[in-house]
C-alpha cells in the first residue's frame, strides 16, 4: 500500500488541512463571538482572531507559491 501512497505526505496534508480548514474557521467564528459581545475586550479578542486568520491566509499563499 505505502508503495502507492505517500503516507508521510498524506498525514501532513490532513493535519495542515484540519488546522487551516477547521482551525482557522473556528478562530474566525470566535472573532464573530467577540464582535457581538459588545465589550472592548470582545473587540480586542476579535481583532486578534482576525489577525490570526490573515496570517494563516498569507502563510497558505506563501507555501503554495514558494514551491
Amino acid at each position: 500500500m505505502s508503495e502507492y501512497v505517500d503516507l508521510d505526505a498524506l498525514w501532513k496534508v490532513l493535519v495542515a488541512a484540519l488546522l487551516g480548514g477547521a482551525g482557522l474557521v473556528a478562530v474566525y467564528s470566535l472573532a464573530l463571538v467577540g464582535l457581538s459581545n459588545g465589550r472592548a475586550a470582545g473587540r480586542v479578542v476579535a481583532g486578534l482572531c482576525f489577525l490570526l486568520v490573515a496570517v494563516g491566509i498569507v502563510l497558505g499563499l506563501y507555501v503554495m507559491l514558494a514551491k
Partner: protein, 384 residues
C-alpha cells in the same frame, strides 16, 4: 506555412479550448456555494472568480511538469498524441458539463493522453504504477479528506456562533465565504492554467519550435490565463447548480466552512506534493458541510451519480483520446488532425445547441432543486 506549423497551431488552439472548458467547468468549485447562499450575485461571483483565475495564472511561473509526462513515457509523446489527449479531455469536460456533473479536468486530460498513448505506442508506454499512485488513489483520498475537514469546520462554526446575533453572524460569514472562495479561485488559476501552459510548451518542444530547456513563452502564459479566465467568466451554470443546490441545501456558515476547507486542503496538498483534484476536494467539502450541520441532509443520489462519473472519467476520456488518435492517424498528417478538430467542433456545437433547450443560467441557477440539472420550466406571472 508548412504542415508542421499547421499541426502545432491546431494543437495550441485545442489546448486553449481545453483550458477554456477547464475554466467554465470549474467555476463551480470556487463559486457554487457563494452563489447558492446568496453571498454573491451569480454574475458578480463568476466575474470575481475569472479575475482571480487570471491573476492566479501569473502568480507562479515555474513550468509545471506537465501532468502527462509522469504518466506516459516521454518518448511516446508526439504532437498527434498531445492533440488526441486534449480532445479526450475536452470531450469529457463538455459531456459532464451538459449533465451538470462536477468532474476533474485533470483526470479527463490524463485519461485522454493515456488513451492516445495506448493506441499510438502500446501498453508498455503507459506507466501503470504512476497512474495508480498519482491519479487513482488521490481521487479516493481527496474527497474523504475534504469531507473530514469540512464536517469538522461546519460543526465548529455552528457550535461556536450559536449565540451570536443573526446580523453579525450573517454578515461575518458572508465576508468569510467570499474571502475563502476567492482563495480557491486564485489557487485554481495557479494550478490549472499551469497545466495548459505545460501542454503547449511540451507541444512546442515536440515540434522543435523552442529548445528543450526553454521556459514558457510569455504569449503562452497570457493566452492560457485569458482562456481559463474567459471560461470561468462564462460560468458553467449547470455544474454550479448541481454543486450549490443539488448536493445539499447550503447556508452561509456552511458555505464558509466548505470553501475554507477546500482552500486549506488544496493549499496543503500543493505544498506537500500530494496531487489532488480541485473538483474532488470541493465536492467533498460541500458534502462535509451538509454532514456537519445535520446528518443525512446530503442528497446521496446526486453524490452517487457524481462518483459514477468520476469512475468513468479515465476510461471514457481514454476512449475518446484513442478514437481521436486513430482518426487523425488514419487520414494522416496535419490534414487528419485538422479534420478531427473540425468533427470535435461540430459535436461541441451540437451539445451546446442541445443545452439551449433546457438552459441553466444566472437567472435560474438557484431555483428549487427538482431532481434534474435543468430547473423545471416555471410559468411566471401565474398565466398557465
Amino acid at each position: 506555412m508548412d504542415a508542421n506549423t499547421v499541426l502545432l497551431a491546431v494543437v495550441v488552439i485545442t489546448a486553449l479550448a481545453f483550458d477554456f472548458t477547464n475554466g467554465f467547468h470549474d467555476t463551480a468549485n470556487a463559486m457554487a456555494t457563494s452563489i447558492a447562499t446568496g453571498a454573491l450575485r451569480p454574475k458578480i461571483a463568476v466575474a470575481l472568480s475569472a479575475v482571480l483565475n487570471f491573476a492566479g495564472a501569473f502568480l507562479s511561473l515555474k513550468v509545471a511538469a506537465t501532468i502527462a509526462t509522469g504518466i506516459v513515457e516521454t518518448g511516446a509523446i508526439t504532437l498527434t498524441v498531445v492533440f488526441a489527449g486534449l480532445v479526450g479531455g475536452l470531450a469529457w469536460n463538455l459531456l459532464t458539463w451538459y449533465f451538470g456533473i462536477p468532474s476533474s479536468s485533470s483526470h479527463a486530460l490524463i485519461g485522454g493522453v493515456v488513451g492516445a498513448t495506448l493506441i499510438a505506442a502500446g501498453a508498455s508506454a503507459v506507466k501503470g504504477a504512476a497512474i495508480v499512485s498519482k491519479v487513482l488513489i488521490p481521487a479516493v483520498l481527496a474527497p474523504l479528506a475534504a469531507v473530514l475537514v469540512a464536517t469538522a469546520g461546519t460543526y465548529l462554526v455552528y457550535a461556536i456562533t450559536r449565540n451570536v446575533p443573526d446580523g453579525t453572524r450573517g454578515r461575518g460569514f458572508r465576508y468569510g465565504q467570499i474571502g475563502s472562495a476567492s482563495l480557491v479561485s486564485l489557487a485554481h488559476g495557479t494550478n490549472d492554467a499551469q497545466k495548459t501552459m505545460g501542454i503547449i510548451t511540451l507541444a512546442m518542444i515536440t515540434a522543435g519550435t523552442i529548445a528543450k530547456d526553454a521556459g514558457t513563452p510569455l504569449w503562452v502564459i497570457v493566452a492560457s490565463a485569458t482562456a481559463i479566465a474567459a471560461g470561468t467568466w462564462i460560468g458553467g451554470w449547470r455544474v454550479i447548480r448541481t454543486l450549490g443546490k443539488g448536493l445539499t441545501d447550503i447556508e452561509t456558515p456552511q458555505g464558509f466552512a466548505a470553501e475554507s476547507s477546500s482552500a486549506a486542503v488544496i493549499l496543503a496538498a500543493s505544498h506537500f506534493g500530494f496531487p489532488l483534484s480541485t473538483t474532488h476536494v470541493c465536492t467533498g467539502s460541500v458534502i462535509g458541510a451538509g454532514l456537519g450541520k445535520r446528518l443525512a441532509e446530503v442528497r446521496w443520489s446526486v453524490a452517487t451519480r457524481m462518483v459514477a462519473a468520476w469512475l468513468l472519467t479515465l476510461p471514457a476520456a481514454a476512449l475518446v483520446g484513442a478514437l481521436a488518435w486513430g482518426g487523425a492517424d488514419l487520414i494522416g498528417g496535419a490534414l487528419g488532425v485538422t479534420l478531427v478538430f473540425v468533427v470535435v467542433l461540430i459535436l461541441s456545437a451540437g451539445l451546446y445547441m442541445a443545452s439551449r433547450r433546457r438552459p441553466v443560467h444566472a437567472g435560474n441557477v438557484n431555483d428549487e432543486w427538482t431532481g434534474g440539472v435543468a430547473p423545471a420550466p416555471v410559468v411566471r406571472g401565474g398565466v398557465a
